[in-house]
């Protein structure tokens, strides 16, 4: 597999993982607020 192709795949995976982590942070935040009856 050419190097640029490998880099592209790695970048895609990293962006996906970053997005999932950010979504998890937001989810934990809102679950906490819901459990505390703030929202």
């Amino acid at each position: 597999m050419p190097l640029h192709e490998e880099h592209k795949k790695r970048a895609g995976r990293n962006y996906a993982l970053g997005g999932i982590l950010l979504a998890m942070v937001a989810l934990f935040f809102f679950v906490t607020l819901a459990k505390m009856n703030v929202i």
Binding site: M1, R13, L27, V31
Partner: protein, 304 residues
């Protein structure tokens, strides 16, 4: 110093790095969509209130848990998948991903979804989700699938749990109505998969999976599809009879059930691939329609 040609695993790690799409494919997104749909309807049907954020979290956990179970299934069955045309292009048999990565991904997602469900929704829903994942991976994939033609009859229970988990997410309990929803999908699973097996028979035979048409023959499979359909239709009417689904649902269940019986009956008479495919695709439409009408009627009833 290393000598010799690289192994398939080395090739997979060095040359075929899995992309984000391969990880997504491990979650069996098509199966997941049906799981999400039935879980949402289970949640709508359950009496009581649930905070929208907690409801979203519960559905997310069910979806991720189902995906994790699918991923562990692909990890365990990579050798069989490689032998079947329908599954040969999956990430592991195609060489885009090594088995270890899939195992780690599946275990991580299973753990995260069960913990999240137990801690943020309730322990009953968390325990049910754990049971579902274990049932699908251990009972169905590891134990039954390669051993008995009844694999999908018992293993089908795993696919029937999502509305029950969603119900438990709302009520914190499992009662008879949730069990009826479970029973409907449980009874639907054998005719659905056996119809698929009728036209994928060669694939299953090549992989040595003892699906009913391979072991008992196509005639017996057609007979069993009819028997299970005849048993399923009364179960599908139960939500209306028991009063937790409305009359529109009741009429729909009878009408769609009659068509299902007609198709199963013509399957026993015509014995062709076309009718098997027709029955298979109709079975998907049938379950989607039943749950859509069931949930839709309850939602409209609440709004008016």
């Amino acid at each position: 110093m290393q000598t010799g040609a690289p192994t398939l695993d080395q090739n997979a790690r060095e040359d075929y790095l899995p992309g984000a799409g391969d990880f997504f494919a491990l979650l069996k997104p098509r199966v997941m969509s049906l799981v999400i749909f039935t879980a949402v309807i289970g949640m709508v049907m359950a009496p009581g209130d649930i905070h929208p954020v907690i409801a979203f979290t519960a559905i997310l956990c069910i979806a991720v848990g189902a995906g994790a179970a699918g991923c562990l299934n692909m990890w365990y069955e990579a050798d069989l998948d490689a032998l079947m045309k329908r599954t040969a292009d999956r990430p592991i048999p195609s060489g885009r991903m090594d088995r270890q990565t899939a195992l780690h991904f599946g275990v991580a997602l299973s753990t995260a979804s069960v913990l999240m469900m137990g801690l943020s929704v309730n322990y009953v829903a968390g325990a049910l989700l754990l049971m579902t994942i274990l049932f699908y991976v251990v009972v169905y994939t590891v134990w039954l699938k390669r051993r008995t033609p009844m694999n999908i009859v018992i293993g089908g229970a795993a696919g029937a749990f999502p509305p029950m988990i969603a119900w438990a997410a709302v009520t914190g309990d499992v009662n008879i109505e949730a069990i009826v929803l479970f029973g409907l999908i449980f009874m639907w699973t054998p005719p659905h998969f056996w119809a698929l097996a009728l036209f994928s028979c060669k694939d299953y035979k090549a992989a040595g999976i003892p699906m009913l048409p391979v072991v008992a023959g196509e005639a017996e499979t057609r007979k069993q599809i009819l028997i299970y359909t005849l048993l399923m239709v009364p179960v599908s009417v139960l939500p209306w009879v028991m009063g937790f689904a409305g009359p529109v649902y009741g009429i729909t269940a009878i009408g769609l059930g009659a068509i299902f019986i007609y198709l199963s009956l013509s399957l026993t008479l015509k014995k062709d691939v076309k009718t098997a495919k027709k029955t298979f695709f109709y079975s998907i439409f049938y379950l989607f329609s039943l749950f859509a009408v069931m949930g839709g009627e309850v939602l409209i009833g609440r709004m008016t």
